[in-house]
């Protein structure tokens, strides 16, 4: 049994809504509302959900790029949520992030060599010569060449830039990589290349990934376990296999039924969910999904369902699966 590298408990992020001249707080956007999960060493946890469900906010909070409103983040035995600003800055050496938009995540005025060297400078790793050597080494690891170090971001394609983004994240030998939609800005053919690269790197360097995406196919390809988020809450968390073969939460079912299957003769029952995602500044009472749920019961409008393990390694937050709901 491997032990968890990262344990997240009761993570919340509420953004205050300011109104008027004096900036009085008139409400809150509950971007992430009480999310708990863990990630084991060497595995990949996928987090899926539609836009605005809080998956990126969760990712950024893990690195404390956004300060959590509440909750604890334990990484490798250290409570990240208690570290001072300076301690957290140093701790980032161990956790790195790959960003969504490879066109925006590289400083256009820095050469690739400089971009890759910077993490080493910041954390005081090696002298100038060793750093240069390491830059070239990592350029080659991600499938680029040493002469690319002199070039600037605008001279690369999207896929190449994302490789650079991955190389930058690897420079400090981190244990955990948070990948925030790393391939959603890329062409489908390039997506596969980058995903394969990430998988190869994971094996080679024994990395742990948190992989945030909205594309279920991509997540299935890379993840060991998958969490489904809806409106700031984790509604289902299960092994990749069991989630894809047997989704429990009505929202997961609907999501999975919307994944296209590359077979023209394939027909299936699509579960359509009606309406829009409600506003996180004024979420529905009880289960946040009840406004769109085809299996809505009375209890759903009143009681918030808790994420509970219903099968081994398969948790779901839905009244359909707990005792109260079954009565």
């Amino acid at each position: 049994m491997t032990e968890p590298l990262l344990k997240v408990k009761g993570l919340k992020k509420y953004f205050p809504i300011h109104r008027g001249m004096l900036g009085k707080v008139s409400g809150q956007v509950k971007a992430v509302d009480d999310v708990s999960f863990y990630v084991n060493k060497g595995e990949t946890l996928g987090i899926v959900g539609e836009s605005g469900c809080g998956k990126s906010t969760t990712g950024r909070m893990l690195m404390r790029l956004l300060e959590p409103t509440e909750g604890s983040i334990e990484f490798d035995g250290k409570l990240l949520s208690d570290l001072s600003k300076e301690e957290m800055r140093k701790a980032r050496r161990e956790i790195q992030m790959v960003f969504q938009d490879p066109y925006a995540s590289l400083n256009p005025r820095h050469s690739i060599g400089k971009i890759l060297e910077e993490p080493l400078i910041v954390h005081g790793i090696g002298d100038a010569r060793e750093r240069k050597k390491k830059v070239i080494e990592f350029l080659e690891i991600v499938g680029l060449s040493s002469y690319h170090a002199k070039r600037y971001p605008h001279q690369f394609s999207g896929g190449q830039r994302q490789r650079i983004g991955i190389a930058r994240a690897l420079m400090t030998n981190p244990k955990l990589i948070i990948a925030d939609e790393p391939v959603s800005a890329l062409d489908v053919s390039i997506q596969a290349q980058v995903l394969n690269l990430m998988q190869d790197l994971q094996k080679e360097l024994k990395l742990t990934y948190i992989f945030i995406a909205h594309d279920l196919g991509v997540v299935r390809h890379i993840s060991d376990r998958v969490g489904v988020m809806y409106l700031g809450k984790m509604v289902e968390l299960a092994d990749s296999e069991s989630l894809y073969s047997n989704p429990l939460h009505p929202y997961s079912k609907a999501l999975l039924s919307a994944v296209p299957v590359p077979d023209p003769n394939f027909t299936r029952e699509q579960i359509l969910i009606k309406g829009d995602i409600p506003s996180p500044s004024n979420p529905p009472t009880g289960c946040t999904f009840h406004t769109r749920c085809p299996f809505k019961m009375e209890i759903c409008t009143k009681v918030v369902p808790v994420l509970t393990e219903v099968e081994k390694g398969h948790s779901v937050a839905c009244h359909l699966y707990n005792e109260q709901g079954q009565q």
């Binding site: 140093k90 960003f99 050469s111 690891i141 499938g143 001279q155 490789r163 983004g165 596969a192 394969n196």
Partner: protein
């Protein structure tokens, strides 16, 4: 390790130059614009004039030859003489030094002060931003010339005080420009990634945000030098800038007013000098804008 990513072949980037930095690229597109090159040429010409002035002119700027008063342009006095019999050519050459100095120094002053205030306001936000922005708003509520006159009347009329006044009135322009630029760059993903890497605030500010917000400042700065030269001339004209007998172009214009009909050259040449310098900086500024920030092109 190279065999671990079989799909990792790289499409070849077709580019002759191995490393085309953003600055090199900007210089290339700057060179393409004829107007910008003409502007840069004029600016370089006046800068050389200002530096080499004493070696170009033979006559002293304040040598009065009263029998040669108000002489029209001739081989001896290229631009004629003024009402004290001073050689106008020599005075204009030396005036270039004054005007360019006022232009450069005042703009550098307002860029430095404006940058610091703008960065503070943009990066730290909240109440710091509120205070700084409101001060800018108040300063911008006055017509700039009026504000300059007010500053000079407090400090007393002299070239140095005119320079300070011009620097002060330009601060809010640069401050706002940088503030807005910092605000937008702060949201860029490469700043988030810099934080994620574990960079300190100061490093993010000086090695990422500042260099990326400098291009509009360079454009605005070049154009502001032109405005500053006009403002200095205007203050000189009003008697609030350089004092006699300094060969300041605006002051020369003012002194020449009464000889407009009888000796128009006393007025034409200082006027031309002002116009040409301003034109040079404006053309260069427009060229810079097109080269550095294609999105700003109107």
């Amino acid at each position: 390790m190279s065999e671990m990513a079989p799909n990792a072949t790289i499409d070849i980037v077709v580019q002759q130059d191995q490393s085309v930095g953003p600055w090199k690229e900007a210089w290339r597109s700057f060179k393409k614009s004829k107007a910008a090159l003409v502007g840069a040429g004029i600016v370089v010409f006046f800068v050389l004039l200002a530096i080499l002035g004493p070696w170009i002119t033979t006559e002293g700027i304040n040598d009065q030859v009263l029998k040669d008063r108000l002489q029209p342009p001739s081989a001896e006095h290229w631009f004629g003489t003024d009402d004290f019999g001073r050689d106008i050519f020599s005075r204009i050459v030396h005036g270039a030094r004054i005007s360019l100095m006022v232009g450069f120094v005042s703009v550098i002053g307002s860029v430095v002060v404006g940058s610091v205030l703008g960065i503070l306001a943009g990066y730290y936000g909240r109440w710091i931003d509120t205070i700084i922005s409101r001060i800018f708003d108040i300063m911008l509520a006055f017509p700039s010339m009026l504000l300059a006159i007010a500053v000079v009347s407090v400090l007393g009329p002299s070239l140095q005080n005119a320079l300070i006044a011009i620097a002060i009135i330009n601060v809010p322009n640069f401050g706002r420009l940088i503030r807005s630029k910092v605000l937008s760059i702060k949201q860029e993903e490469y700043i988030a990634s810099a934080k994620a890497i574990g960079m300190k605030d100061t490093r993010i500010l000086f090695s990422h945000i500042l260099p990326n917000s400098m291009t509009p400042v360079m454009v605005q700065g070049t154009l502001a030098i032109a405005t500053a030269i006009i403002e200095a001339a205007a203050l000189g004209f009003l008697g609030l800038g350089a004092q006699a007998p300094a060969p300041e172009w605006g002051k020369m214009l003012a002194d020449a007013r009464i000889y407009l009909i009888n000796a128009p050259w006393t007025m034409i040449f200082p006027g031309l000098a002002i116009m040409l310098t301003v034109l040079g900086f404006n053309l260069m500024g427009d060229g810079l804008r097109d080269a550095l920030d294609p999105k700003m092109k109107s």
